[in-house]
Symmetry: C2
Subunit: 159 residues, 2 copies
DNA sequence: GATATGTTACTCGGATATTTAATGTCCGAGTCTACTGGG
DNA sequence: CCCAGTAGACTCGGACATTAAATATCCGAGTAACATATC
């Protein structure tokens, strides 16, 4: 799985602590964890395309959450970066085997495909059940200093 | 996820229908699904290293299951091909952030890491609960012709 | 007929290319800000 | 003092390198089977 998933999740979580009317530039979000700014920018673009973030150009521009943290699941972020296709991609090799027929959809009938799909479904369900609000609440409970620290670090130095 | 996982699972399942005292060469297993023989061989080597298959050189040589189908889980095969590391690799970027400390294992404390790990755990549990024997039984129930067809196709043409 | 032996063909195993995807970098288009000059 | 106009700097967005990994291939080492010759 791409490293960008980790960056995207941490960045989105950090954005939950920023006031709604303020956008944070990619450079500042990257500096937070000493990440390559241009490459993080690339990942954030994917989040914008997925409708998770909105972007603003020009001075005072940057990124902010497109909807409330309660409405953004961890799965949303993962899918935005990794793409919607499943990790196990059934290529239907049964069709090439003896008794394989062209008209059959082996992604549906193949027992192995079903097993892998089922496992991946539980994985997705798990991630779809956690929102950014859940993560934020857990962090605030365990590390009360984190929100203020994050907000201060992402605060506009020009203000 | 690597395409080799699909090949390995189908191949191992096919081997459950072969008599225990007979080994099947990689070339024959590859011909079954029209796969590139040398590359499938490479994947099978990984299964041998993982203790799932045993290999025999020379004439009448080939691969066979190292233990009974009841003792081989789908997860075993996946891990043999993909490696033991988790799909989501936490790089502990929190350490680079404000308040990050060198001594802390952020793979344990980070809420995001915990969430991803938890989801992956359910995925693994699902795959660990299915053995090759389970798959074989399901296939035999739904497609009674499959076992004979497979055994015949993998039968030694020289016999 | 049985046995020892040399030859042959077969199979795996790892070393070596090739292709694809992930990672990383750079520069231009657009936009908002802030300043400047005039009314 | 207020307002319109303009220059400037900031930010994203996508196009362009670079690196790592998956995919695919090839040839040699070892081994078991078979044929052969001998006892």
């Amino acid at each position: 799985m791409s490293e960008g998933v980790e960056w995207a999740l941490h960045t989105c979580l950090n954005l939950t602590w920023v006031e709604d009317d303020r956008a944070v530039p990619a450079a500042m979000l990257a500096a937070f964890y000493e990440l390559p700014p241009a490459y993080l920018n690339k990942q954030l673009q994917a989040l914008v395309r997925a409708g998770i973030l909105t972007s603003t150009s020009g001075p005072r521009g940057g990124f902010r959450l497109a909807r409330r943290p309660e409405e953004i699941t961890v799965l949303d972020v993962v899918v935005a970066i990794e793409g919607p296709q499943e990790a196990f991609a059934c290529t239907e090799i049964l069709r090439q085997g003896p008794g394989g027929e062209p008209g059959v959809d082996y992604r549906k009938t193949c027992v192995i495909s079903q097993t892998m799909r089922q496992a991946e479904l539980t994985w997705r369900r798990e991630l779809a059940g956690r929102t950014l609000a859940d993560l934020r609440a857990t962090v605030e409970e365990r590390f009360p200093a984190a929100p203020g620290q994050t907000r201060r670090r992402l605060a506009d130095a020009r203000a």
